[in-house]
């Protein structure tokens, strides 16, 4: 299937015809609704909050945010940003409750620091991996976006971005950009390996004044999915720790490095002094 991201830039692709198709197609609506509900579950908001919707389009997901029941912590107030004027036109026709802005999220997020409780983005951020003109790069756009998003969320806030990466490279590029901006980031996969595979980038902003058990869970990104069924946690961090410990023996002149070199020499059949407790030890300063 062709990807719309490969055809045209988003502001041109979602013209009046495409926007209407997207908004009225019941299949797309259903998928969008289930993804928004999943994102809400991951955000775990307990009281009516101010939410930023990135790439809000015609407000399909925003509508769900305004309709959250009071028992479940709603209804939320949202502000939507989108680059397609036609999509926003559709939102106007449908009379959504949120505030709308015509803006390119790759140019940054123009809000003052600590504005939002949470942010949500459904099927949008993969568009940032395309550079439409020669004076911008995907890396630069992702950096502007995540830096702006990080600043605009309050401490302890969360963002959930569902996205469709084209390949592993895009997926890694996006998550690396998020981590670089300072987020605690994790990727949640729904139905991996199937046609309806969905990726959610779950981002947390660390913060001091959280109190309660919330602090314990949100400091570690894997806490976000605690208690959820059908979730496997693949933690690559321990592996990374091991790797970095191994890296110590690569520092030239260190004890590990000397021992490794001696091993190598021995294997080549050279005469090497045996290792002892003095091997690679620092000398005393003589005077």
């Amino acid at each position: 299937m062709s990807r719309p991201e490969d055809l045209l830039p988003p502001d041109l692709f979602y013209n009046d015809v495409e926007s209407r198709k997207y908004t009225t197609n019941s299949r797309i609506k259903n998928i969008q609704a289930s993804m928004t509900n999943r994102a809400l579950e991951l955000l775990d908001l307990r009281s009516p909050s101010l939410i930023l919707d990135l790439g809000c389009g015609s407000g399909l997901s925003g509508e769900i945010l305004s309709e959250v029941e009071p028992e479940e912590g709603g209804p939320h107030t949202w502000i939507g940003m989108d680059i397609s004027a036609s999509m926003l036109g559709q939102a106007l026709d449908r009379d959504v409750d949120g505030d709308l802005m015509l803006a390119d999220i790759g140019q940054g997020v123009p809000f003052r620091p600590g504005s939002f409780d949470a942010a949500i983005s459904i099927s949008a951020i993969q568009w940032l991996c395309n550079a439409e003109s020669s004076d911008v790069t995907p890396e630069g756009r992702l950096k502007r976006f995540f830096d702006g998003l990080y600043a605009s969320l309050r401490r302890g806030g969360r963002a959930v971005c569902q996205f469709y990466p084209k390949n592993k490279l895009q997926r890694n590029m996006i998550s690396a950009a998020a981590v670089k901006a300072g987020f605690g980031a994790g990727i949640l996969e729904d139905d991996p390996g199937t046609k309806s595979e969905k990726l959610y980038l779950v981002l947390t902003v660390g913060g001091g004044d959280l109190g309660r058990e919330e602090a314990a869970t949100s400091r570690d990104i894997t806490g976000v999915v605690n208690g959820m069924t059908d979730v496997d946690i693949q933690d690559a961090r321990r592996k990374k720790d091991q790797r970095s410990r191994m890296d110590k023996s690569r520092v030239k002149g260190s004890k590990g490095w000397i021992i490794r070199k001696k091993d190598q020499m021995e294997k080549q059949g050279k005469v090497v002094k045996a290792n002892s407790k003095y091997t690679g030890r620092k000398r005393k300063i003589a005077f």
Partner: protein
Amino acid sequence: MKLLTLNFLTCARKACKQEPAAFPLHPRDAELERVEMELNPEFLVNVLPRLEWKAVRSLGDELGLPTLPEQPPNPEDLMEKDGSNEPTQTLKDLHALLVETSVANGKLVCGHCGHEYAVKEGIANFLLPSHLV
């Protein structure tokens, strides 16, 4: 564009990022609109500490709205104290000002670089030409 949103928006230009004058944006030739919305007391209580009250006041002055008190309302004053959990008049006024009043048409001007963002049918245009990003 609700007045609530205007209390969070800053100029999008890179050069204005660290400038205190880039917030708040100043409305010009603004046409106001009132859209009825359901009162959501908990939301207002949640968002009140994050508001820049000075900016709310100056915005009200610039739009020709009645002058607001110098100090932001206390969170305790938003609910009736007799335990009935009813919203007070303060809360209703706050709701009418921040959530129901919006800028329908006009311009938003940055106090630092003077860039004008057009607002049409309640939607502000924050797209920037790439040399300004």
